[in-house]
């Protein structure tokens, strides 16, 4: 026994030969890991462990309270059946179609508007320092505040419609927020209002990072401004498109608060997204297993988008 300890001490000659010091120095070597351990353990338990727990629950028959007897993929079968139940639409069908509409428009409009504003702001604008924060401040607000503000603004009896009526345009009609077929588009409007300024800031940073020499060379070759952007600038901005897409996609899938504050779920739950479906089924309708199954589906959707992205980013970094 003592020989092992001796050889170890010999291997690290700078340490004191007394056994107490050796323990202390070994502790020193372990210290970084000890410091990191609580955070990592918390991540393992409260993120990955809880995800497994949710997956487990989705295969049980849990209603109001968790039950731990596995009963098979019944919750998923129900969701699958509901996926095609369009007449009358099940709330799951409504949630995922809304997700499609909202995700597509929200991401598409934010990218287009963000790029457009960034290009406009990049034309050596006087007052850029004033305009940029105006475009971006909504990102600092909570979705609840955004929802409250837009709810008022879009209310037919109080907001925009009423105002235009007072100005004499009495035929103007805009009641999307009360209309079950259009309410999801009001969520798009408020969502775009909140996030597009941020996308603008990302594109602007990208534009400022482009080498001026390339632009000059293209201009000398006689490229028009439109050609310049289409052929040279936008292709160079590809990494920004990717980052912005990732941010917007995960914001879109996580959107929950905005629907609640803006529409309270819409008439008959017509503005629900999967996140609202999950919350309602788990905590209000006592269908815990179904709620868990929908959470698992949300998680898998985000994973399919994020994991390839993180993988490529981290690999690029370590290369």
């Amino acid at each position: 026994m003592s020989t092992v300890a001796e050889t170890q001490i010999k291997l690290t000659p700078e340490h004191d030969a007394r056994p107490g010091a050796s323990v202390r120095s070994r502790l020193q070597d372990l210290l970084p890991k000890i410091v990191l351990a609580p955070s990592f353990a918390a991540t393992i338990v409260f993120v990955y462990g809880f995800i497994l727990w949710t997956i487990y629950l989705s295969f049980t028959n849990s209603k109001t309270f968790p039950s731990y007897a596995i009963t098979g993929p019944r919750a998923y079968q129900r969701l699958w059946r509901w996926t095609f139940e369009s007449d009358p639409p099940s709330s799951w069908y409504t949630s995922i179609t809304n997700m499609g509409i909202f995700g597509f428009l929200y991401i598409g409009i934010c990218l287009a508007l963000g790029l457009f504003l960034a290009i406009l702001l990049d034309q050596k604008i006087r007052g850029e320092g004033v305009l940029r924060p105006i475009y971006l401040y909504p990102m600092a607000l909570s979705f609840i505040v955004t929802g409250v503000a837009w709810k008022w603004f879009l209310d037919p009896g109080l907001g925009l419609e009423q105002t235009l009526h007072q100005w004499g345009w009495t035929s103007f009609h805009f009641d999307w927020i009360k209309n079950k077929d259009f309410v999801i588009y009001t969520v798009v409007i408020a969502g775009v209002w909140q996030a597009s300024g941020f996308v603008m800031a990302m594109f602007l940073a990208g534009l400022r990072g482009i080498d001026g020499e390339i632009m000059k060379a293209a201009q000398i070759d006689g490229a028009s401004a439109f050609q310049l952007y289409r052929r040279i600038v936008i292709p160079l901005l590809r990494p920004v498109f990717l980052s912005a897409f990732i941010v917007l996609a995960h914001l879109a899938i996580k959107s929950y608060d905005l629907v609640v504050a803006l529409t309270s779920g819409g008439p008959g739950g017509s503005a629900w997204l999967p996140s609202n479906f999950m919350y309602e089924f788990t905590f209000k309708r006592n269908e815990m297993a179904v709620g868990s199954a929908s959470a698992v589906i949300m998680l898998m959707t985000i994973t399919a988008i994020i994991v390839p992205y993180l993988y490529s980013e981290l690999r690029e970094k370590s290369r």
């Binding site: 020193q28 890991k33 955070s39 409260f46 968790p66 979705f143 109080l158």
Partner: protein, 314 residues
């Protein structure tokens, strides 16, 4: 075309085209500025109007006789459900939740970033990747297990209370929310500090080590004094996120006098007993928005940098 035009005329038409171009660009920029400012403007003017003026006047007009009454009412007597005690209590709930959560998650993030860049071990990339992925999960996928655990801890807290007369914070909603926000904020704070320390010269750390400085001495004397920008970014990012959170707040402190600001605001706006006082609702919304807006106005540059750092990963 341009080949035959005289240089002078070409220049003149060029100037005209450019002027027109500038007018269009500034016009569009101004239009969008109005689009972004409109809801805040409406919220602000409405919060200073009387109910009379709201019902008979124009949404966009400035208040004729500005009144602070809606703000006072929103602060100290507005109803959330059946309790009419104003927003002030919920405002303090949010403060009590945000401050410890931000401090703890920032400190842990700094330590994690320090270890993951300057004290690397086998598998450090995997550890980081796992913590990073946690930033992106939809919180719905952990909501229910956390509710179960917090519920059990709460019951255990009651037992402790009976046995020792003190519950050690178990079952206290503010403590619960601080815990939840620290756990699920760790990914982002670690990311921020890791990326920042990655660019920090390792030679300095090595030199200090040779001089006999310990792990914590290096952290305190060398890393922290050089981390001010990233600390500001992280604190602002965490503050905004935690203040604005609604999902965790409504799941774990969704009713009663323990609600944070966002949940209380949503309840106030959806309280339908009696006449809906829009001016008071708008004042309440402004009160909920002000802390993050002030941070944004004071430190906008850092706010944007945090968002960017959260967006451009790796």
């Amino acid at each position: 075309m341009s080949a035959v035009a005289s240089p002078a005329r070409q220049a003149a038409s060029g100037v005209r085209a450019r002027t027109l171009n500038r007018i269009v660009i500034y016009g569009l920029l101004a239009l969008f500025a109005i689009f972004y400012l409109m809801p805040l403007f409406v919220m602000l003017v409405t919060s200073f109007k009387t109910m009379d003026e709201i019902q008979n006047g124009n949404m966009l007009s400035l208040p004729h006789a500005p009144t602070f009454a809606p703000w006072i009412k929103a602060w100290s007597e507005v109803c959330s459900g059946l309790t009419c005690v104003g927003m002030k209590g919920y405002f303090w709930n949010s403060i009590k939740m945000v401050v410890p959560a931000v401090l703890i998650s920032t400190l842990l993030g700094a330590l994690n970033g320090y270890v993951l860049t300057k004290w690397r071990f086998r598998g450090h990339t995997l550890v980081f990747a796992m913590m990073l992925f946690a930033c992106f999960i939809p919180f719905q996928s952990v909501l229910l297990p956390m509710a179960t655990i917090l519920g059990s801890l709460g019951r255990f807290g009651v037992t402790l209370q009976n046995a020792t007369g003190f519950n050690f914070g178990l079952g206290n909603s503010t403590v619960n929310l601080v815990f939840v926000h620290v756990v699920y904020g760790l990914g982002f704070t670690t990311l921020f500090f890791r990326n920042y320390y990655e660019a920090f010269p390792t030679e300095l750390v090595k030199a200090a080590q040779v001089d006999g400085a310990s792990f914590f001495q290096i952290f305190r004397r060398i890393m922290l004094p050089n981390s001010l920008p990233i600390i500001v970014v992280t604190v602002i990012y965490q503050f905004t996120n935690i203040w604005n959170d609604f999902l965790f707040a409504s799941a774990y402190a969704g009713s009663g006098d323990v609600m944070p600001m966002t949940v209380a605001l949503n309840n106030v706006v959806n309280t339908s007993t009696g006449v809906v006082e829009y001016n008071v609702n708008m004042a309440a919304a402004m009160i909920a928005a002000l802390p993050t807006l002030i941070v944004y106005v004071v430190a906008g540059r850092y706010f944007v940098r945090g968002l960017m750092a959260g967006a451009v990963k790796g």
